[in-house]
Symmetry: C5
Subunit: 368 residues, 5 copies
């Protein structure tokens, strides 16, 4: 059956995602630096992009080579750290830019709740980047952290491959607004790229729910419920990534006044509204999936009803007739009907009339 395999597939997707969760470092000193995720690539490297209005430079370097490539005179410096498992390198980076130990810890613990913090020297935010290529494929979650210090923006990702390609492409075009503006606008553009992907994922989820809805209406089965259950569980997990976003983006407006230039602030507010829209969509999905549950439950009991009706119709017609046949099967010596010439045919006729009458009754009751 296709549903069964759909369920399997679903569960598989789900498992993959789930595995990430248990990792938590109990019994270690607080603020000890441990990478809580799975290593997803061999080497930690850096995408270093420095640009101003006039020129742009993009290099792929190793983390340890950063210092000598760094030219702080440039207007905007974007250090994109890809890979988190090499802790000593990250510690060096931390020392280089004066990053608080707790911030480093937040960057490394990929189960971190999305949050935003303002320090004296920098602002720091960590959120989830979710991706989902098609309604059938799993939702991939990856943690991205942003650290903005003066004209430097450092981003931290778990592995290669991200949603930032569009931003990089625009950077190459010197006429784009992004080249004229500062680091805060770059930060905004990257956040916007992440949140735009939430909309895609939302649409995929919406399609999934509509599929389930159709399935619940047309061919409800155990698999529908299980798939629905997994769907809801997945959404519970997703909610934990999405809901704190509101607070994170809101904090930029509230607490980072001095780090964000006035021209960029309307963009941030716009982002904030997009976040709210994502959250509201999730609320609608939640209501929808409980509506699908109602549909499914009803389909089930409708089926039960139909089974009962068949049973009742058959029993109601044949049990009384069997009784009549039984009566004429009795062995009494004196049963006048038995000796009648056409007794048998009279009885058969009466039975036929009874069957027709019953069927009429059921039709009237709208059972058939």
């Amino acid at each position: 059956m296709p549903q069964k395999s759909a369920l399997k597939q679903f569960q598989k997707l789900f498992k993959t995602k789930r595995k990430k969760r248990p990792a938590h470092k109990v019994g270690l000193p607080p603020a000890a630096l441990v990478f809580t995720g799975d290593q997803k690539q061999e080497q930690v490297f850096i995408n270093l992009i420095t640009y101003d209005e006039a020129e742009i430079q993009e290099e792929r370097i190793e983390l340890r080579a950063l210092q000598k490539h760094l030219d702080l005179q440039k207007k905007v410096i974007w250090i994109d750290v890809v890979g988190l498992h090499d802790i000593t390198l990250l510690e060096e980076l931390g020392k280089l830019f004066g990053i608080h130990k707790l911030t480093l810890e937040d960057i490394l613990s990929v189960e971190q709740r999305p949050k935003m913090e303002v320090f004296d020297e920098y602002i720091f935010a960590t959120i989830k980047m979710i991706q989902c290529n098609s309604p059938e494929s799993p939702i991939m979650e990856e943690q991205v952290s942003f650290l903005m210090e003066k004209n430097i923006l450092i981003t931290f990702q778990e592995k290669e491959g991200d949603v930032f390609q569009f931003v990089r492409d625009r950077l190459l075009d010197p006429k784009r607004a992004i080249r004229q503006r500062g680091t805060d606008y770059l930060l905004y553009a990257l956040l916007d790229a992440v949140i735009d992907n939430y909309f895609t994922v939302m649409e995929h989820i919406g399609e999934r729910i509509e599929n389930l809805e159709q399935q619940a209406m047309l061919e409800p089965g155990n698999e529908t419920l299980n798939a629905l259950y997994l769907q809801r569980k997945e959404m519970m997990d997703l909610r934990r990534s999405v809901y704190p976003l509101r607070e994170v983006i809101g904090s930029f407006d509230k607490y980072a006044e001095h780090k964000i230039s006035p021209e960029v602030r309307p963009f941030i507010r716009d982002l904030y509204e997009n976040t709210i829209q994502v959250i509201e969509t999730m609320e609608v999905f939640r209501d929808m999936s409980s509506g699908v549950l109602d549909l499914y439950m009803n389909s089930l009991s409708n089926r039960m009803n139909n089974v009962m009706k068949v049973l009742t119709i058959i029993s109601t017609i044949f049990i009384p007739l069997s009784f009549v046949a039984g009566v004429y099967g009795m062995n009494f010596e004196y049963m006048p009907e038995l000796t009648m010439r056409y007794g048998y045919f009279y009885v058969l006729g009466a039975m036929g009339v009874a069957i027709v009458g019953m069927l009429g009754f059921f039709r009237w009751k709208k059972w058939i």
Copy 2:
């Protein structure tokens, strides 16, 4: 069956509305100007109305002809832009009036959450205009945006045909209060026209729910539930247009003090209360439709109960009697009753008594 077609019709309505949703521009630069809706008419044009207490002028011009028709000396200038798909024209308009790029983007993305923003030069609001001609017809949603800059009010609609006709009619009458007052009062009058239509739609929805209610009580079927489900889904969608209204209208009172004259402010407050009334009505509808679900579920299990009762009555009467007939159909050699003269009639009589007794029992149990 009429219900079935009702369901079909419902679904059709629903589909039309739904199609609008998926469009979201992922992977584009933020604040890139793209029209996210469907083009609904051939040409973008403008209804230009300028008036003061003494005279009024109404012209239908093309967007590019606006500048030479514009006479900024008039007291109130209402530029009603109809059609949004010609982006270059809108960009020119944006330059002419100094509209922020994000505002232009909000105007164009028809999936925008209703919102209100105060800029230095203008105040901007975008809400949904909903229309529904009869309880059976679909709810049409269209985005309307308002931009008030000094004595100019610019409105943006997706297509011709709106709820503003009453306002235009009143403008023609020089004795009307609206001719004496300024642009802010015009803004209020238009918002009021939009929100008044929400009441009509609410009434149509109310009628729909009462129809479903009646259907659930009298002839519940699978279609009832499906229609109910679609109804709830439609209301979920509608909620996303309605709930933010409270905030939008409330913001006029809170943040736009300097743009709204003191005489107009009580009117805005009145509008705010109407919005709350719409929201409360939606809440009541939500409760009502879950009540209808209960009604339906109960009707279903009542039917099931009745089916079971018929089965039980028939079985309980005839299964024991068949047994008795079976006993006298046994072929034992020595069965004294069989040779009795009226044995057969005694047995028939006893069976008749049993039937009457059973019926009495069922009546006493209130099953029949």
Copy 3:
């Protein structure tokens, strides 16, 4: 059946009330004066009561005769306008006392959400007066508006007959505190009279729910559910009158400091607490009626259970016995039992033993 008629009666009550709702004036200029209710009496008249500590005067005059009867020197002037359909007269009244057009509109639209507003010259409040003479009779809703301007209190009712009689009686007694105090105390006394009636209505609703509860426990039927549904719908409607009261009464304390004398303010606070008590009672009723729904659902499935048990008992006893009888009804030539002398009686005896055994089994299972 008595329940059926109870349902009918219920529905009738409900219809009466419902009719009032749809009226909303779409497409009219905002703040246009239209009376949105049904005209409930022929003529608009005024009950004019003027009093101070020493003397009191009560007159029933026509609205147009008001001006010449008005003696503004008196300490307290209570103008009780009865009937709202004569709009031109009300407009004159509005001009006489400088009433804002929006206030007049609120007075006339009987679907207005309860609210309280402070203007420079007056404070205005509009609430619902509900009456219910017995648990079986419908809840009548009428809008009452209060407008206090200096020493004048104007009240607006839809029709003759109100809950203010007790206040009028007390006014006649010169020793009563109410004669010593000012207009604000009169306002309080009238509000108190309205809210006191909410308690009566709450008690009637409480009785209704307890009746439904008893019905659900003892003789649950389709009517119980329908009545319960109507009851909940009625309560939803009522909530819309009751919940805003909290805000209305609370506003007197918060925003009308300068219009309410310090001696009267504790009374207003007391009123506020009564309002909260009404709201809490409604919450309890809401929980209770969902509890009644549970009771009803359980009664239903209990009944189903019992039907199934009867079916199962009868089938379980007689189907196997019929089989045995069928066996001995077979026509094999060689069936040794058939020729036994007492074979028939042995079989009958064995069947009797089986029946007793089955009954014992069912008793042990607690089915009978």
Copy 4:
């Protein structure tokens, strides 16, 4: 059956409590003094306790004799008024201590929502004292009011017998802290005694719910649901006494700064936390009882399932066999099996095999 009587008992308890509710004084002047409860004892009397560190005096006097026994020089004076039905006496008391009419009204209306008010001369609080001697006995509610004016504390109870005995005992011991402290500490000690009793009642309710839980798991019946329903109803009532407590006790900390000495304030805060704990316990009970409902519902449908299984097993075994017997009971002239020597035994054997096979099938299906 023991459950039935348990239900009866429950209902009886419940009735007793319920009777108190309806009394509300509609149509009386506001702030008219009426005692809304039942008179619970013959005579109103006073327990007058005056003490300082050195000595303590306890007298039981009549209300009218109060004035001459009053020695205002003592450090702490506790006037415990027992019985509320003698209104004229209470009015005298009101005059003697300058009590506001609304306060007197609150003291007398035993349906008053718990509240706390700060007046210029005194602070006033009224709460419910609940008592419940065993899990089976009803919850008794009595209103207690506290009025503290300088060094005088007046308490008002409906009838003799309270939870204050422990406080009185401690007062007799000169070494106790309570003798060293002032009237505010006495007030605290009395409030603490009242709230401590809430914990006892909570434990009794907890036991009741656990009994219901056990009943729902082991022998679910109609009585379980009804008892559960009554339990929930009782808790709804109780909630109305408990929830406002939080506000009442919180107000002492917030609004009565000048009346409560700094040493006593930590104790009040402690009391506040106890109140929150009571409220949280009630929340847990609420969740628990809806959990018990689930348990019960499941037990019911499990039973139904079992009934259906028995029916199905019996039918599935014997209906086909009866058919076979019926076949060999047909009267065709030419049926070769009938003349076989051991045909009968072959058929019996085949039937036996079929029965064993069926039973094996059911076992495999885990139905038996």
Copy 5:
């Protein structure tokens, strides 16, 4: 059956935990010192750890020997009191450090709701330490109180064995940051150790719920529901320990500014976020367990459906056939079919065709 024993085990675990609850000291003077828990070890002793950057001393002494071992010159003094039942010793300790009587009472009453209080001399917090060694083992709860006064930190535990071992180990290492910092950092490290254990417990609960989920999908039985119910009850209890944590940790940031050094405050904020994460996880678990309930309910009704289908299939096939056999078993004298040469075989053939037809019908209906 393994499930049954799982349930038993569950209940046992549960009982152990539950027993602690009833103990509440009604009728005692407020702030009387009583230990409300069970004595869990013979002797109260103290783990005294004093350290600065250079050296560390750890001693296990008796409580009464504390004073002479105390050297207040050391930078950090951690007095870890193990065992709470010896009240007189605790009172002495209270006098020695000037601990408020209410604080002592909070330390002793192990049912205390988690809280945090700031006094002039010290800050005090009491929370629950939970431990759970495996998904199957019970959740153990123990109260831990923290009291920080200048450079002294006193902790109070009910019995030996805690989650602080990691902290002690780190203290021994002079290079660790904890040795460089003050008492406030020690406090943080201990709180962090407690909250880290919440994560472990959360994971165990998560595993339990996933087991229940699997059970509900694959082999749902009465035990599943009971286990689910107990699981939810346990989570209700746990919520009472977890939810107040947010407030407790939040209070350190809000009210204890002057007691916590600026370097330690980011750590506290980090702790606060961990607490929120625990609470959110509990919310997810709550939703998940109600999802499991749906799964279970559906499995149940699916089973019922299957039972009904078997019944219906068997009845629908054989009842009509039995009727046919009955017809030919009638004893009419003239029944032409009976004398036909192959009548019997024609009938048997027709019956076979009917059976095959029925089976086809059921297959088409997807019942088999």
